[in-house]
């Protein structure tokens, strides 16, 4: 598959979308020429559930989110949020959107409470709501402390509290777990899942794929500002990557030779086990590994398996496969 052939998967036609972009483009002028940050992105975020927006650093995730929020202007393309064009009609839907872009940015010399109070008065949210959302995110005790004294996790939680001031239908979190400890990451994940379960749409961007896999219902994977794959997580995992098996055997070196001669792709693992995938001459499709064939083949050579575990692809492997196919990584410079 090539990048020009379009993304690998698509959403079902009946899906309704909270966010849609078509042919979205954005480039920046730099000293070394133009930097193409987003290159014709067609993004579809279904309404309801958690949608992972994945890509390596510099792939255009934050730029896209900023365009969704009207913070930066697109060079070309359309953005629709809840069927309203952005940025023209953004003021009509902004009350339905809550967002954290990159690191939370508040006034450092004001307390968390004061920062939220300012936002609440700006959008007309009741003042009592400030205390409530601070309690909700567990910042009630530190609400009156200056923002600059907060830890990174507390800052993230304050940003989440800010998004909840509006009771939005769409929440956009850009790398929300950056710098958090495992407990903080777990907490954010649980918050996102909880919001989605209550009927909201959560768009979460991340480059930590394993983390998103645990919480997302659907994902979009981008590289170099282009869409590489999009759809339900299960569909992407099922169709997106080669299936393999973990094989435990007493004589792994001989077993590897036998399997390789039969056309399987064999890789030794650090714990002495083998990773076996269907190779080009194994007579199988890349995604349809026949475990029985492996046991039969090895038994015919008096090699007896003591462990055979199918290994399902994860998002990371799918992503690596996609980017390897397209030679895509971080954002690159466009031709001059």
């Amino acid at each position: 598959m090539t990048a020009s052939a379009g993304p690998r998967h698509a959403m079902p036609p009946s899906t309704t979308y909270a966010v849609e972009t078509h042919g979205l483009r954005k480039s920046y002028r730099t000293r070394r020429g133009r930097l193409m940050a987003v290159a014709g992105l067609d993004l579809m975020v279904p309404a309801g559930g958690v949608h992972g927006f994945l890509g390596p650093n510099g792939s255009g995730k934050t730029t896209t989110i900023r365009m969704l929020l009207g913070l930066i202007r697109a060079d070309a393309g359309d953005i629709e949020v809840f069927d309203e064009y952005v940025p023209t009609r953004l003021p009509d839907v902004i009350d339905r959107i809550g967002a954290i872009v990159e690191q939370p940015k508040f006034f450092p010399s004001f307390s968390g409470h004061k920062n939220l109070q300012l936002l609440a008065s700006g959008i007309g949210a009741p003042a009592a709501r400030v205390g409530r959302v601070l309690e909700e995110v567990g910042l009630g005790d530190r609400a009156r402390s200056k923002y600059r004294t907060y830890s990174l996790g507390m800052k993230q939680r304050l940003a989440i509290a800010a998004t909840l001031l509006k009771d939005p239908e769409l929440l956009i979190f850009d790398e929300p777990t950056n710098g958090l400890d495992p407990a903080g990451i777990h907490e954010i994940r649980a918050t996102m899942r909880g919001l989605a379960d209550s009927g909201k749409t959560v768009l979460v961007s991340s480059h930590i794929l394993s983390e998103v896999q645990q919480v997302a219902d659907t994902v979009s994977i981008i590289g170099r500002g282009r869409l590489l794959a999009q759809g339900a997580v299960d569909d992407i995992l099922d169709a997106g990557s080669q299936e393999s098996a973990r094989v435990g055997i007493a004589d792994p070196a001989r077993a590897a030779t036998v399997l390789a001669e039969a056309g399987f792709a064999v890789r030794s693992l650090p714990d002495g086990m083998l990773n076996v995938a269907a190779g080009p001459r194994a007579g199988q499709s890349a995604t349809d590994l026949d475990l029985a064939q492996i046991t039969r083949l090895l038994a015919e050579h008096q090699l007896y398996v003591f462990e055979l575990t199918p290994v399902r692809a994860d998002l990371e492997s799918v992503f690596l496969e996609l980017t390897a196919e397209d030679h895509l990584g971080a954002t690159s410079r466009a031709p001059q």
């Binding site: 913070l71 902004i94 872009v101 939370p104 940015k105 006034f107 450092p108 300012l118 700006g122």
Partner: protein, 321 residues
């Protein structure tokens, strides 16, 4: 819009920089009242006698020697017009208390320019801090109507400057009147001083608008301060280094500070040096010119309108990262 202005007022009055600026203005104006108290207090009979004697000595000496001093100056190569000395005047010898009108004028000038400078910095810092902390991105993701956001911040800082300037002028005028009365002086010419205070309030508001626009365009308080210092440098070059250059002084009617002074003082006088070659050598004549209040008001109206439009266009178009 009212909601946004409410939020901006809340932020402005919670800022430490605002408190520091207000405190600095209050302190300087309070200290100045010591000078006012001293000036409006009529001197004692002994002091008057001593000052009168000193005045008479100086006048006599000037009458005896001023032609000689002038010739020495001309012989040293200076133009005759520049060598003409001025006879001592009684007003400079503290023979009587400074009248209310005069001390109020000095106080108002101080209050107007001090408040204007403080409001420039408060306004520049108010918007500059939003860009340096990145909080503007957060704010715009809640309130994406950029024109409303721009206007609410501008209205807030301008209104605040007007209010502070009214209070500062009232304080200065009130204290001058009080101290003059306490020392038995007559409070006269109040109408002219009230007019000056009114014009000064407008000047403080204008400088706050300039601070806001410069802070928004440069996106940093320090950069806005740099622009101000840069302008002062240009002012110094034009008035000190190029003070005797006619072309540099002809620019005066188009300089912001001359027009500002024309508003504050109900007109501004300046001189253009014109060099002439005479039989006695090179001589310089000074042609007196005048920048009127109307000129100053129109100039600043156009300047502010242009600055606001440019700042708004930049704010509307600029990517916020």
């Amino acid at each position: 819009m009212i909601r946004l202005i409410g939020a901006e007022i809340n932020r402005l009055r919670s800022r430490r920089f605002t408190h520091i600026a207000l405190l600095a203005v209050l302190m300087i104006l309070s200290i100045f009242q010591l000078q006012v108290n001293s000036d409006v207090n009529p001197p004692s009979a002994e002091a008057v006698a001593a000052n009168q004697a000193q005045y008479e000595r100086d006048l006599k000496e000037w009458e005896q020697h001023h032609e000689e001093w002038e010739q020495q100056c001309v012989d040293a190569g200076q133009p005759r017009e520049q060598c003409a000395g001025v006879a001592p005047t009684k007003e400079n010898y503290g023979l009587a208390a400074v009248p209310f009108s005069e001390i109020a004028q000095i106080g108002l000038r101080l209050a107007i320019y001090l408040t204007g400078l403080a409001m420039f910095l408060v306004a520049a810092s108010f918007i500059g801090a939003e860009f340096t902390t990145g909080a503007i991105a957060n704010w715009l993701s809640f309130v994406p109507r950029r024109v409303s956001v721009f206007a609410s911040k501008l209205i807030t800082v301008a209104t605040f400057a007007l209010l502070v300037s009214v209070l500062a002028s009232a304080f200065v005028l009130g204290m001058a009147a009080l101290l003059t009365s306490v020392h038995g002086g007559e409070v006269s010419g109040l109408h002219a001083r009230l007019s000056m205070a009114g014009r000064g309030v407008a000047v403080a508001g204008a400088l706050a608008v300039v601070g806001y626009c410069v802070g928004l365009i440069t996106r940093h308080t320090a950069a806005a301060l740099g622009v101000l210092l840069g302008y002062l440098f240009v002012w110094f070059i034009r008035n000190a280094v190029l003070g005797e250059q006619a072309w540099a002084q002809r620019l005066t009617p188009w300089s912001p500070e001359a027009n500002l002074a024309a508003i504050v003082d109900n007109g501004y006088r300046y001189a253009i040096p014109v060099k002439k070659l005479t039989e006695g050598g090179l001589s310089v004549e000074y042609l007196e010119r005048h920048v009127s209040l109307v000129h100053g008001a129109v100039y600043w109206t156009v300047l502010l309108a242009g600055l606001i439009i440019v700042a708004l266009l930049i704010f509307r178009r600029r990517d916020v990262t």
